[in-house]
C-alpha cells in the first residue's frame, strides 16, 4: 500500500532534477527545493525539454509532458515542504549539510513524512542519527541519469522501521523503478565499484595511457557499455567526483578511492564536465541527458 502523494526533492542539480522528473512522471506531486532560484528555473527548463523530447520520441503521448510539468513546483523555502509525505535529498555529500537539512525539516514536516537520502557514500544510519526521526529515514540511491536509469539502491539504517522501508520500497516500485536492497555500507554496491573505477580511468588519462575519446570508444566497443567512463564522468561532474572520492576514501581507506590530482586541476580550471561545457569532452549545450 502506498499513501505517498506529494514528494519533496531537495537539490536541483543533475541528480535532483532527474529524480524530480521520475517522481512527476509517475503522477506524484513534486516540490523541488533549492537555495538558488536560478538553479530551480534551470531544472524546470531542463525537465520540460527532456519531457518534450520524450513526446517527440513517442515515449509519451502528446500533451503528457505538460501534464507532468503541472505536477512540478519549485521553492527556495524549506517551509514549503510541509505537505510532503516523502522528502528525497540530493544535496552535497556532506554529513553536516544533510543533518542540517533533515533536522530542520523534522520541525516542518508532519510525523508520517519519510526522509530519504540519495547519498552515494555516506552511511544511512549516520544521516538518520542527525535527523530527529531515525526510524523514518531510508537510503534511496538513484543512478545517473536518474530519468533514464531504473535502478534504485534501497538501504535501511540500523534504526529504520520495517514500515518505513516497506513504504519507501512500494513508492519506488510505484514510480516504475527497480529497487535492490543493499547493506548500509560505504558506496553500497554501485559506487563501491564505480568511484574507484572512475578514479582509475582519470589516472590513466593523467598518465597519458590514451586520450579520453579512445578510452571511451574502447570500453563501449569491447564491453558493450552504453556510455564511456569519461562520458559518464562528465555527467557526474568533477566537483561531485571529488566529493564522492573524499567521502569514500575517508570511510574505506581504499587507495583506489582517493581523488586523483587531475580532478583537482580540472576543478581549478573550471572544467567540471557537462555542467560547465567542458570536462574530458566538450559540450555545446547544457541540456539534460536524453533531451
Amino acid at each position: 500500500m502506498n499513501d505517498i502523494k506529494t514528494v519533496g526533492v531537495v537539490g536541483s542539480g543533475t541528480m535532483g532534477t532527474g529524480i524530480a522528473i521520475v517522481v512527476a512522471r509517475a503522477g506524484f506531486k513534486v516540490v523541488v527545493l533549492d537555495t538558488r532560484a536560478d538553479a530551480l528555473e534551470n531544472a524546470r527548463k531542463q525537465a520540460a525539454a527532456f519531457l518534450r523530447k520524450s513526446v517527440e520520441r513517442g515515449r509519451l503521448e502528446p500533451g503528457q509532458d505538460e501534464a507532468i510539468m503541472a505536477n512540478w513546483s519549485s521553492t527556495t523555502e524549506r517551509a514549503d515542504l510541509a505537505q510532503c509525505d516523502l522528502v528525497i535529498e540530493a544535496v552535497f555529500e556532506d554529513l553536516k549539510v544533510k543533518h542540517d537539512l533533515f533536522s530542520s525539516l523534522h520541525e516542518i514536516c508532519p510525523p508520517h513524512t519519510i526522509f530519504a537520502s540519495n547519498t552515494s557514500t555516506i552511511s544511512i544510519t549516520e544521516i538518520a542519527g542527525g535527523s530527529g526521526r531515525d526510524d523514518r529515514v531510508v537510503g534511496m540511491h538513484f543512478c545517473l541519469p536518474a530519468q533514464l536509469m531504473k535502478l534504485v539502491e534501497m538501504s535501511p539504517g540500523m534504526n529504520t522501521s520495517d514500515e518505513t522501508f516497506q513504504k519507501a520500497w512500494a513508492f519506488c516500485e510505484a514510480m516504475g523503478q527497480k529497487p535492490v536492497k543493499t547493506r548500509d555500507t560505504p558506496g553500497f554496491i554501485l559506487n563501491y565499484f564505480l568511484i574507484p573505477w572512475h578514479n582509475d580511468v582519470i589516472n590513466m588519462v593523467d598518465q597519458g595511457v590514451a586520450e579520453p575519446a579512445d578510452i571511451d570508444i574502447a570500453v563501449k566497443t569491447a564491453l558493450g557499455y552504453p556510455l564511456g567512463p569519461l562520458e559518464l564522468l562528465d555527467m557526474v561532474g568533477m566537483d561531485t567526483q571529488k566529493l564522492l572520492s573524499d567521502a569514500m576514501v575517508g570511510l574505506t581507506n581504499e587507495p583506489r578511492a582517493a581523488c586523483p590530482p587531475l580532478v583537482k586541476r580540472m576543478i581549478g580550471a573550471g572544467k567540471l564536465g557537462r555542467k560547465s561545457g567542458e570536462g574530458f569532452h566538450s559540450y555545446d549545450s547544457n541540456k539534460i541527458f536524453g533531451a
Binding site: M149, L151, E153, Y192, P196, A222, P226, P255, R256
Partner: protein, 217 residues
C-alpha cells in the same frame, strides 16, 4: 591501403578467418605480423621492413617495447591486439599501440587498414595492460573480493551493476562464463608488471587457476 600478412603461430586476435586476413595481398605498403611468434617474425624482417608505411606486431600481454625497445626504435612500427576476454570470441575493438617516437603517419596507415576491415580502433601508448586490461582487472578483482566479503549475492551484485550502469552483463557472470582462470592469468601478469595490489589475483581467481583443467570456470 595495401598490406600483407605474415602469420607465425596461433593468433589470439584472429583465431579464425576475418576480413583483415582475407583482404591481404602478397605484397603491400604495410605489414601485419600476427600469431604468438609475431615478435620473432619482426626480428627476422626488421631491416627490409624499414621502408614500409607501417608494420603492426600482434601483442599478447607484453608491451611493444619488448620487441622494438623503449627509448628509440623504428618510427613505422606499431603494436596491436584485438580485445577478448578469456574464452569469448575476439571483440571488434583493436588497441593500437604506439611509442613516443612512432610516426603519426604509421599509426594512421595501420588504423586505416584495420578500420577498412570493420574493426574499431582505440589508440594508446605502450603501457602494461594497454586500455582495457589495465582498467578492468582491478575492477574484476574488487568484485570477486567483495563477493567473498558478503557485500551481496552474485545475482544482486550483477543485477545492480547491470541496472545501474546499463552493463550488458555483470562482472561475476562474465568472469565465470569466459573462464575465471583466464582472469587470473591476465591479472597476475599485470601484477608482476605493475606491482600494484589491485592487480593481485583475487582468491577466487587463484582457486580457478589452481583447478584449471578440472572443469572449473
Amino acid at each position: 591501403m595495401s598490406y600483407r600478412i605474415d602469420q607465425r603461430g596461433d593468433s589470439i586476435s584472429f583465431p579464425e578467418t576475418h576480413a583483415l586476413l582475407e583482404s591481404a595481398g602478397a605484397s603491400g605498403e604495410g605489414l601485419f605480423l600476427i600469431g604468438k611468434d609475431a615478435g620473432a617474425a619482426w626480428r627476422e624482417q626488421s631491416a627490409e621492413a624499414a621502408s614500409l608505411r607501417f608494420v603492426a606486431i600482434e601483442l599478447g600481454m607484453e608491451c611493444l617495447g619488448v620487441h622494438i625497445g623503449d627509448d628509440d626504435g623504428p618510427a613505422n612500427v606499431v603494436g596491436f591486439a584485438r580485445f577478448r576476454l578469456g574464452d569469448d570470441a575476439p571483440t571488434q575493438l583493436v588497441e593500437l599501440v604506439k611509442k613516443p617516437f612512432t610516426d603519426p603517419a604509421a599509426v594512421q596507415a595501420a588504423r586505416q587498414a584495420l578500420e577498412a576491415s570493420g574493426l574499431v580502433v582505440a589508440v594508446c601508448q605502450d603501457f602494461p595492460g594497454r586500455i582495457l586490461n589495465r582498467l578492468l582487472r582491478p575492477y574484476y578483482n574488487a568484485a570477486l573480493r567483495r563477493l567473498d566479503d558478503g557485500l551481496a549475492s552474485e545475482a544482486d551484485m550483477d543485477k545492480t551493476l547491470c541496472l545501474g550502469l546499463g552493463y550488458p552483463e555483470g562482472p561475476i557472470s562474465l568472469l565465470k562464463r569466459t573462464g575465471l582462470h583466464h582472469h587470473y592469468e591476465a591479472t597476475q601478469a599485470l601484477y608482476e608488471a605493475l606491482g600494484q595490489e589491485p592487480y593481485a589475483p583475487a582468491r577466487r581467481a587463484q582457486v580457478a587457476w589452481a583447478r584449471r583443467g578440472q572443469g572449473e570456470r
